[in-house]
Amino acid sequence: MSESVKLDRDEVLKIARLARLELDDAEVALFQDRLGRVLEYVRELNQVKTEKGASVKHVPRDAVSIREDRAIEFVDREALLSNAPAQIEDHFLVPTVIEQS
C-alpha cells in the first residue's frame, strides 16, 4: 500500500473516471476526505503477517460448481427489455457510437 493516503483532487477525479462516475465539485471534496479516511484506516493490514496468496474457500465443500452445460431459454424477453430506459424493437437504444462517414 502506498505510504501517503492523502488523495489530491486529480487522484479522486482519476478514480472517478475509472469508475465511470461524474462528480460535482462538492463530491470531489467529500470523497477526498472520506476515501482518505478509509484508506488511512485500512493501512493497519500491513502489520499483519500473512501467507502470500492465501484465501478462504468461498464455495462450500460439497457444492459442485460444474454442472451440465445446457442452455436454458429465457422466455420473457419483453420483461427484460421493458426495464431499459430506451429501446427500439428488440434492442437496447443508445446514442450514436459510430460516426457516419
Partner: protein, 487 residues
C-alpha cells in the same frame, strides 16, 4: 385481529379454525401497513392488488393449510430481491421503476410453501450501510423510538417484523445487515452459512459475502423460514448440496446441558456498558442451565473492519459496473454520447455511500494495487477464518453481543464513515469467515431500547445453533413488543 401476537404457528392455527381467510388476513395487514408506514418507513412498495391476488388464490386452496408450511403467512421481502411483477430498486435511484423480470429462488420457495408476499422493504442503497439512512427514498425508523435508526442494511425488514407489519421477512447480510438491525429492533435475525441459501435473484453487492436470511419474532419462526428457503440451486454455483434438516422440528427438547460456549474476552472491549451487562447476564443464565464457558481467542478479528472494507468495495465496484444507464433503470438527461450515458447516469443515479464504495474498490483494484489491497485482505481473511476453526476445537458455539450499542439517533454517525462502519464490528468477522450466526434479543437498556445477543455456529450447523438460541430464548422469557404496536 391481534396482529401483534401473530407467529407462523398462530396464523396457521387461525386458518385451520377458520378465524379468518387469507383475504381477510391480507386486508388486515395491508390496512395496518397503510396506517403505519408513514411513521416507520419500513416498506418501499406495498401493492394491494398484487397482495390480494395472491390471497384470493390461497382462499381457493384452503384445504392445503395442512400441507403448506407457510400457508397464507404474510412475509415481507427486502427490495434488493427480485419478485416477479414487483419492483426491485435496492433503494437506489438508479433502479427506480425497475420491475423484476423473474423471481429469486428463495422467494420462489416461499411462494411454493404458501407464503403471502406482503411488500418490498426499505434498505440502505444496494445494502451498503448500517442504519438504512442511505436509502435513496426515505429512512426506515425504529419502532421502539422513531427518532432512532433501525440499523441496516435490512432496516425495513427488521422494522416491519418488530412493528408486526409482517409475520416474518427476508433480508440479506453481507457484513451484519440482518443481525445488526435484528438487534436494534428487538427481533430474531439469522445469517446462515455462506452457501446455505441460493443468491439467485438477489441484487449482488459483495458476492463472496452476500447471504440471504430470515427475520422473525422467535427462533422457532426463523427456523421455519430457514428450512423452506435453504437448499441447492443450479442457478447459484456457490449454493450447497448439503441436505436441509427440519430445523423447526429439531428445536424440541433443546438443552444447554454441557454445551461449550466460547467467549472471546478481548472482543468485549469497546462494547457499551449496558450491552456488556446484558451479555454477562445472558451468559450467567445459560451457565445456570448447564452450559460451560470456554475462553477462546480470535486475535485476527480486530482486523475484520479493514479486511471487510477492502473486500466488499472491491467486489461491489465490479458488481455495480452493470448499472450503465442502458440495460435497466435510470438514464440521466442531456446525454449525447456513450460515455456521457455512463458517467452522468451513474453519477446521478448512485448515492454518496455507494459512490464512495465503488471508488474505494476501483482504487484498490487499479493497476499495481491489487496485491497490496485485495490480495492482502484475502490473506488476512483466511487468518480470521482460521481463528474461528481453531476456537471450535474447544467449543460448540460462540456468543458475543450483536452490536456494540443500541439504536442510535439519525445523523449521529453518518458524517464519519469509520464511525458508522464500527457498528458492524461484532458481525463482520463472522461474515468474513462464512459462518452462520443469529441475533436474539437479550434485554432492554435504560432507555428502553433492545439489546441483541449473537450466537455463532460452525459451518452448516444451523440446526445446533438454532437449538442453543431457542433454549436461551426460553430461559430468557417473553420479550416485549415496542409500544404503539397495538392495532
Amino acid at each position: 385481529m391481534q396482529l401483534r401476537e401473530f407467529t407462523i404457528e398462530r396464523v396457521l392455527a387461525g386458518y385451520r379454525k377458520q378465524e379468518f381467510s387469507p383475504v381477510e388476513l391480507a386486508t388486515a395487514y395491508l390496512d395496518v401497513i397503510e396506517k403505519q408506514n408513514e411513521r416507520l418507513g419500513a416498506f418501499l412498495q406495498v401493492d394491494r392488488d398484487l397482495v390480494l391476488a395472491q390471497a384470493t388464490a390461497l382462499d381457493a386452496r384452503k384445504q392445503e393449510v395442512n400441507k403448506l408450511p407457510l400457508f397464507g403467512v404474510p412475509i415481507a421481502i427486502k427490495d434488493n430481491f427480485l419478485v416477479k411483477d414487483w419492483q426491485a430498486t435496492a433503494a437506489s435511484k438508479i433502479l427506480k421503476g425497475y420491475k423484476s423480470p423473474y423471481t429469486a429462488t428463495c422467494v420462489e420457495k416461499l411462494e411454493s410453501a404458501g407464503a403471502l408476499i406482503i411488500g418490498k422493504t426499505n434498505l440502505d442503497e444496494f445494502a451498503m450501510g448500517s442504519s438504512t439512512e442511505n436509502s435513496a427514498y426515505f429512512p426506515a425508523k425504529n419502532p421502539w423510538d422513531t427518532s432512532r435508526v433501525t440499523g441496516g442494511s435490512s432496516g425495513g425488514s427488521a422494522s416491519a417484523v418488530a412493528a408486526a407489519l409482517a409475520v416474518g421477512s427476508l433480508g440479506s447480510d453481507t457484513g451484519g445487515s440482518i443481525r445488526q438491525p435484528a438487534s436494534l429492533c428487538g427481533i430474531v435475525g439469522l445469517k446462515p452459512t455462506y452457501g446455505r441459501i441460493s443468491r439467485y435473484g438477489i441484487i449482488a453487492f459483495a458476492s463472496s459475502l452476500d447471504q440471504v436470511g430470515p427475520f422473525g419474532r422467535s427462533v422457532q419462526d426463523v427456523a421455519s423460514l430457514l428450512e423452506v428457503i435453504s437448499g441447492y440451486d443450479r442457478n447459484d454455483a456457490t449454493s450447497s448440496r448439503a441436505i436441509v434438516p427440519h430445523y423447526s422440528d429439531h428445536l424440541k427438547g433443546a438443552s444447554l446441558k454441557n454445551v461449550r460456549i466460547g467467549i472471546a474476552k478481548d472482543w468485549l472491549e469497546g462494547i457499551d456498558d449496558e450491552v456488556r451487562k446484558s451479555f454477562d447476564e445472558a451468559v450467567k443464565l445459560m451457565v445456570k442451565e448447564g452450559a460451560k464457558v470456554v475462553e477462546i481467542s480470535l486475535p485476527h478479528s480486530r482486523y475484520a473492519l479493514s479486511t471487510y472494507y477492502i473486500i466488499a468495495p472491491c467486489e461491489a465496484s465490479s458488481n455495480l459496473a452493470r448499472y450503465d444507464g442502458i440495460h435497466s433503470g435510470f438514464r440521466a438527461d442531456g446525454v449525447t454520447d456513450l460515455d456521457s450515458v455512463y458517467f452522468k447516469s451513474r453519477g446521478k443515479g448512485f448515492g454518496a455511500e455507494v459512490k464512495l464504495r465503488i471508488m474505494l474498490g476501483t482504487y484498490a483494484l487499479s493497476a499495481g494495487y491489487y496485491d497490496a489491497f485485495y490480495g492482502k485482505a484475502n490473506e488476512v481473511r483466511k487468518l480470521i477464518q482460521q481463528d474461528f476453526l481453531t476456537a471450535y476445537e474447544s467449543c460448540d458455539c460462540i456468543v458475543m453481543p450483536t452490536s456494540p450499542s443500541t439504536a442510535f439517533k439519525f445523523g449521529e454517525k453518518s458524517a464519519d464513515p469509520i464511525k458508522m462502519y464500527t457498528s458492524d464490528i461484532c458481525t463482520l468477522p463472522v461474515s468474513l469467515a462464512g459462518l452462520p450466526a443469529l441475533s436474539v434479543p437479550s434485554g432492554l437498556d435504560s432507555q428502553g431500547l433492545p439489546i441483541g445477543l449473537q450466537f455463532i455456529g460452525k459451518h452448516f450447523e444451523e440446526s445446533h445453533l438454532l437449538k442453543v438460541a431457542h433454549k436461551y430464548e426460553q430461559i430468557r422469557g417473553e420479550f416485549p413488543l415496542p409500544s404503539g404496536v397495538d392495532y
